[in-house]
């Protein structure tokens, strides 16, 4: 993998704990300036507005900072996702994974920092149907039936996947008459996954896609995600399942307290014989005090 995003170059494989203070200062400098401009137009906007297809990075987030309710959730988070590859985001609960996705999908506006999707500002990328999102919880009307939800989302895009074939693939056809609220957790996940893919986006955010799924479904989803990657779609996935990250990800970012602690391929991260889980434990902090 020759192409590496600028944010990743600095991260490398070793722990970044040592240079936290310097990066925090650097970030504080640009923060004031970025604040005064609308998101997507800040000074950190160094990525030229190249056509999406030729941009090497599908997603580039630089120095994202966000405080919610007085708590710092994103603390200078910088990461990139390479085009056509699967990037996994690991981190303890509350590390900022979902908040990061929300910043990339226009739900939240970071206090500072920029997000570019295929070289475009978030709003433009979303409006162009470039991004698919599978939210962690719900995201559908309680009374809607699975195929209605998929047809609804498909209807918002120019050349969506055939809804019936997609539903068939994810086993949703048997649930055609069941309202969303009566689906099990795993079934809801399947609807949400299908909803993220139905518009044929170039970048897909999957927030804990297999949480609550049985092992059969989980493996079927993995197979689907591998196909998706083979077809050229960029996938950004968050998960707590180390085996899932190892199965799927070309690159793993472990984040903690709102910033990337360590990045690399699974092989690189586990090079010294530690398991991925051990690397995770070594680079993140527990929220539960024993």
């Amino acid at each position: 993998m020759g192409v590496v995003g600028p944010g990743i170059a600095a991260a490398a494989v070793q722990d970044r704990g040592g240079d936290v203070s310097t990066t925090a200062e650097d970030a504080a400098e640009v923060k004031g300036e970025a604040r005064s401009r609308p998101a997507g137009w800040g000074v950190l906007d160094y990525t030229p507005a190249v056509p999406s297809a030729s941009s090497p990075t599908a997603l580039e987030a630089v120095d994202l900072r966000l405080a919610l309710g007085g708590r710092t959730v994103l603390d200078g988070l910088t990461l990139a996702a390479e085009r056509g590859r699967t990037t996994a985001l690991l981190g303890p609960n509350g590390a900022g994974k979902t908040t990061f996705i929300r910043c990339c999908t226009g739900v939240l506006e970071p206090d500072a920092g920029t997000v570019r999707i295929g070289g475009q500002a978030v709003g433009r990328a979303l409006a162009g149907g470039r991004v698919g999102v599978m939210p962690q919880d719900s995201g559908a009307w309680s009374g809607i039936r699975p195929l209605e939800m998929l047809r609804h989302l498909a209807g918002l895009h120019a050349s969506p996947l055939p809804v019936d074939a997609l539903a068939e693939r994810l086993g949703l056809h048997e649930l055609a008459r069941t309202p969303y609220r009566r689906l099990s957790g795993g079934q809801k996940q399947a609807v949400n996954l299908a909803g993220a893919l139905v518009g044929r986006p170039e970048l897909v955010f999957l927030d804990e896609p297999t949480a609550g799924m049985d092992p059969h479904t989980r493996r079927a989803v993995w197979a689907l995600l591998r196909e998706l990657r083979a077809a050229g779609t960029t996938v950004l996935i968050t998960t707590h399942a180390m085996d899932e990250a190892a199965e799927l990800a070309d690159r793993v970012h472990i984040i903690d307290a709102g910033r990337v602690r360590v990045s690399g391929t699974v092989e690189e991260l586990a090079a010294d014989g530690r398991s991925l889980e051990q690397v995770f434990l070594d680079h993140t902090t527990s929220r539960i005090r024993p």
């Binding site: 226009g106 939210p135 719900s138 559908a140 009307w141 309680s142 050349s159 055939p162 909803g195 518009g199």
Partner: protein
């Protein structure tokens, strides 16, 4: 399980703006029609009132102006329930269930979402007015046929729909879904009973009688009763306009898309 092959290669693109908005409106309309409670408020209760007005002894309904007075009031009541209460409750739960943030990240976007909602609401209100209007006529309502009062009446309905929906959104975008549900129902009942929606302001005693004409519910009720009686009073439109602008301003400032 031999699944059909899917071409999973990216082919991003947005559907045309009008078809996105129509899609949103269709789905919202479908869900609303399927929702029994909403339908009850929107049609069954108003129809019941019309029927009661027809069959109840005259001295009982005299205070409401009999069927001739009640028919336009019932139309106002129907607009009030759909535009305010239904919008607030539906949107509150859409926010709670993450539907708003989910759709905001699609090509529909926030403006498409609001527009789609507006179109769906327009369909609902038109359907209500059609069904209730025809029912009232069939039961013996004989409104005045002068064009200017009805023009003012239609303008009042249009303004009221935007006004009530804006206040419904202001509520749904600021409070938790359960609180929105409670407050929306409470305000619905409170203003339906005391907001000069079904009973002219002259029927309210004392201070309230003086204050009530300044309420948007009174302005809508009076505009429709005036239209039915062939009278024009533009002051009601001014009241509605002020409440509409205020509602839009507050909704814009207070609305949050996330739960």
């Amino acid at each position: 399980m031999s699944a059909p092959t899917l071409d999973l290669s990216p082919a991003p693109g947005a559907a045309a703006a009008p078809s996105r908005v129509l899609r949103q409106a269709r789905t919202e309309f479908l869900l609303l029609v399927r929702n029994g409670e909403q339908l009850l408020l929107a049609l069954v209760v108003p129809l019941g009132v019309l029927l009661l007005a027809r069959v109840a002894p005259a001295d009982l309904t005299a205070r409401f102006g009999g069927l001739q007075g009640l028919a336009p009031s019932v139309l106002a009541l129907a607009v009030w329930s759909s535009a305010f209460t239904s919008t607030a409750i539906a949107t509150g739960f859409e926010r709670r269930y993450g539907v708003l943030e989910r759709l905001a990240s699609t090509p529909l976007g926030r403006s498409g979402l609001v527009l789609g909602k507006a179109v769906a609401l327009l369909w609902v209100v038109l359907a209500q007015l059609l069904v209730l209007g025809v029912a009232a006529l069939a039961l013996g309502w004989r409104p005045a046929g002068e064009p200017l009062p009805w023009l003012a009446g239609v303008a009042a309905v249009a303004l009221a729909v935007v006004c009530f929906a804006a206040w419904g959104l202001a509520l749904a975008g600021a409070l938790r879904a359960e609180v929105t549900l409670a407050v929306a129902n409470l305000v619905y009942l409170l203003l339906a009973a005391t907001g000069a929606l079904v009973l002219g302001p002259e029927n309210y005693p004392g201070v309230w009688g003086a204050v009530v004409p300044a309420l948007p519910t009174a302005a809508l009720g009076e505009s429709l009763r005036n239209a039915s009686a062939g009278v024009v009073d533009a002051s009601h439109l001014v009241v509605l306009l002020v409440w509409t602008l205020l509602g839009l301003l507050i909704a814009r400032r207070s609305f949050r898309w996330t739960a």
